[in-house]
């Protein structure tokens, strides 16, 4: 058995760490800005690029794909080399992975404020960036599988399995959800429409949480927690059960995001059942993490790395208990569309992802720079700032969510809504919004403290770019008695295929009926495609990210039908590409807004919402009033949509502009009656056309 010498690539890890910290600060700062905008609309700056609807996806994308994404790569590149006793398969691929990922982030940071978005949550980036993501992910995949193939350790530790599941599932999710037909370089229409689009999107959205924010972090937990505690994981057997049941069950639970929507009952029930089952493996994982520290709690008191990790794992446990509970219909009825969900998400994001990342960074940086941490006191300060931050974030949001939900549902003794004015339920919780931003602010200050501490640590140490190591070469021929799964481990491709099959079954069982639906939905005969002007208005609605504050899905509750009108039917959305049901009601539902108020109301409201609604926290949209509507793509949009199956008559694109103008003129005329002077070529005209159309088809 020959001993081979090689070195671990620390430089790539260093770069991912730097990117992680920088984008963490950027992403969280943008989040803080968005939080402040919600009680101080002045901070929308009355500029398109910084208004809430565009800033919110920038925040979510930055923290998920830039902060967490880079943390994943840093942790994977660090742990994988050491667990498999080899350098990464190819330095070149590592660097393409790094720079490719950062370019994608920059592209996102430019396009999202510009309003170039698909508007599907956590998949907002337009198709050229989607393709870039695919390419970079393939590069990561080749490097990953390559590293497994050249490894010197015959067994693959459970962390590698979690990484592998991440690699495969993210690829599948991204590909399926991103199907769209381009209109031009910056605009595409979803290949799916309405209910179908919603199902695919939340199958994606849910599993993005599972396989981008959870499985890779579990892999990191299973590596870094034992490292930091200097003892093996509590139960390796439990970790195996944890792994397989988690990836199996997670993928099936997607429909719980659409409870009470126009989704078939059985799909909702299936989603709920699997969500509840999900508690078991999740808690298995949490218990496994916490029990790893049994008998070492004195260490936890002293070691800040372990402190961060304990809180992280605890938050993982809380979030994964709360998630399944939220998928119960009666709890969901209260929590959905409210700030409760925002609280839930942030317990996971700030606690689990953030704190595990911080613990990992505090552990890796001194080792890679061959020194001690610059200041334990500062690290402890960070720990307390972060913990307080999470509490000050989560508690007000829970309070706000429940309060607002109850107000939405409260009736007077005579059977009328107690708070018929939606805005009343908003102003009630504004103090909670203020408290939340204090929490977020504390958390962000903590990150600055960490950054300073890490920079000082690096400055006092000397960075080891290539860490020498040696290990015996891997024996090729396997002999002796084998277990089926150690065979699996040794045959990573087989393992990859099995994991793919695993996650595909869940996806297919959910998606196949969804695809069958299309031919079975009897189109409600009065539901017709959008007119060219309405279509352009809808694309403005997408551009501005109105979906970040407004749902378009009236649930079949008395409290909702009384407030908004008839509940939403599946057949009403057959021409919605993408669907715009939304997930958060910071403003009222808009599905039945058509015909509710005169055109002039909308004009004044969009110019400055406080014109019509005193104390409104909706941003102003003065540019919609001033800017001319771009109609250069209208023709292309019509023909793209027809290719996707929207029944515009043949050759309609040539008449589209004439129709658009005619409809615009009627709106200009109606505005003029209310003494508002404008011209038919303005964006606001298209927006009004769209809003007035919404939800009116079934009344025809």
């Amino acid at each position: 058995m020959s001993i081979e010498r090689f070195s671990y690539d620390n430089k790539i890890v260093k770069y991912f760490i730097i990117a992680c910290v920088i984008f963490g600060i950027v992403g969280m700062s943008v989040g803080l800005l968005a939080a402040i905008q919600l009680y101080y609309p002045l901070f929308n700056f009355d500029i398109a690029y910084t208004s809430f609807g565009r800033i919110r996806p920038l925040h979510t994308n930055a923290v998920i794909f830039a902060f967490v994404g880079n943390a994943i790569f840093a942790g994977v590149y660090y742990s994988m080399q050491r667990l498999l006793k080899t350098r990464m398969y190819s330095d070149k691929l590592s660097w393409i992975n790094f720079w490719g990922w950062q370019l994608i982030i920059v592209a996102a940071a430019v396009t999202l404020p510009l309003g170039i978005t698909s508007s599907k949550e956590y998949a907002e980036l337009e198709w050229p960036i989607d393709i870039a993501i695919t390419l970079v992910w393939v590069v990561f995949g080749i490097n990953f599988i390559g590293t497994i193939l050249v490894r010197r350790e015959k067994h693959m530790y459970v962390a590698i399995w979690f990484f592998l599941a991440t690699l495969i599932t993210v690829a599948v999710l991204h590909l399926v959800n991103s199907f769209a037909l381009p209109v031009n370089f910056f605009k595409s229409y979803s290949a799916y429409a309405g209910v179908q689009d919603a199902l695919v999107q939340w199958w994606y959205g849910h599993n993005a949480v599972a396989f981008f924010l959870t499985t890779p972090y579990l892999g990191l937990m299973y590596y870094f927690l034992p490292k930091a505690a200097e003892r093996p994981v509590y139960s390796y057997k439990l970790s195996i059960v944890h792994f397989w049941s988690l990836i199996f069950i997670y993928i099936w639970a997607g429909p719980h995001h659409l409870l009470y929507t126009a989704l078939p009952d059985w799909a909702q029930a299936l989603g709920t059942a699997f969500s509840i089952m999900l508690i078991a493996p999740s808690w298995g994982g949490m218990v496994n993490g916490l029990l790893t520290l049994r008998g070492a709690w004195d260490k936890v008191r002293e070691d800040v790395v372990l402190k961060f990790m304990v809180v992280a794992v605890t938050c993982y446990g809380m979030a994964t208990l709360e998630g399944p509970l939220l998928s119960l219909k009666n709890i969901n009825a209260i929590g959905h569309y409210t700030d409760w969900i925002v609280a839930h998400v942030h317990v996971g994001a700030l606690g689990w992802n953030g704190f595990l990342t911080f613990g990992m960074l505090y552990w890796m940086v001194p080792r890679m720079w061959r020194t001690k941490l610059y200041s334990n006191t500062l690290a402890n300060t960070h720990f307390w700032l972060g913990t307080l931050g999470i509490i000050f974030y989560a508690l007000p949001m829970y309070w706000a969510g429940v309060t607002q939900s109850l107000m939405w549902k409260e009736f007077t003794p005579d059977g009328f809504l107690k708070y018929p004015n939606f805005l009343e339920t908003v102003t009630q919780i504004v103090p909670m919004y203020i408290a939340r931003s204090v929490g977020g602010g504390l958390y962000l200050i903590g990150v600055f403290v960490m950054t300073y501490n890490l920079i000082k640590t690096a400055a006092q140490g000397s960075f080891l770019a290539n860490e020498e190591a040696e290990a015996p070469a891997l024996e090729k021929a396997a002999h002796g008695k084998e277990f089926w799964h150690s065979i699996l481990e040794r045959k990573p491709l087989l393992m990859a295929i099995l994991a793919t099959i695993m996650i595909s079954i869940g996806g297919l069982i959910e998606l196949v009926p969804t695809f069958l639906v299309k031919s079975n939905v009897p189109t409600i005969s009065s539901v017709t495609p959008y007119t060219p002007l309405e279509l352009e208005g809808r694309d403005l609605y997408i551009r501005e990210g109105c979906v970040g504050c407004h749902s378009q899905m009236v649930r079949p509750f008395r409290s909702e039908t009384m407030r908004y009108g008839d509940y939403s039917k599946a057949g009403e959305f057959v021409y919605d590409r993408p669907f715009l049901w939304g997930s958060k009601r910071t403003g009222p539902d808009l599905h039945r807004i058509g015909g509710k108020s005169p055109d002039s109301w909308h004009y004044l409201h969009m110019l400055d919402p406080t014109n019509t609604s005193t104390g409104s926290i909706m941003p102003k949209y003065p540019w919609l009033i001033e800017d001319e509507l771009d109609i250069s793509q209208t023709k292309a949009k019509i023909s793209t949509l027809r290719q996707l199956g929207v029944p515009y008559p043949k050759g309609y694109e040539d008449k589209a502009l004439a129709d658009l103008n005619k409809q615009a003129e009627t709106i200009v005329a109606s505005l003029e009656k209310d003494k508002i002077k404008t011209t038919k070529d303005k964006e606001i005209i298209a927006m009004i056309a769209y809003l007035q159309r919404l939800g009116t088809d079934i009344k025809k």
């Binding site: 742990s79 050491r82 667990l83 006793k85 350790e153 067994h155 530790y157 459970v158 962390a159 209910v195 590596y223 034992p226 490292k227 200097e230 093996p232 994981v233 390796y236 057997k237 195996i240 059960v241 397989w244 199996f248 099936w252 126009a262 078939p264 009952d265 059985w266 029930a269 299936l270 059942a273 070691d303 800040v304 790395v305 552990w363 001194p366 061959r370 001690k372 941490l373 334990n376 860490e467 020498e468 190591a469 040696e470 290990a471 277990f483 089926w484 799964h485 150690s486 079954i505 869940g506 069982i509 959910e510 009926p513 069958l516 639906v517 079975n520 939905v521 039917k569 599946a570 057949g571």
Partner: protein, 66 residues
């Protein structure tokens, strides 16, 4: 109305049933396997993150612990 539509898809009920059955079978086999697996193997596996230091711990005098 859409519910009726879905119900009219032939064999729609089979999907949730199939999924539960597959999971059940898989889960039971997993548990059985885990219960009979070799202890030494489990021990070796769980120590993988820790032994990487020892086997690759050359020229690491400066490596200090926080």
């Amino acid at each position: 109305m859409y519910k009726e539509t879905l119900r009219s898809i032939e064999g729609i009920q089979i999907y949730p049933l199939v999924s539960l059955a597959i999971f059940g079978l898989f889960f039971i086999s997993l548990i059985i396997w885990v219960m009979q697996v070799d202890k030494a193997y489990i021990h070796e596996m769980s120590n993988l993150p820790l032994i990487d230091d020892q086997s690759s711990n050359i020229k690491k005098k400066g490596d200090s612990h926080v």
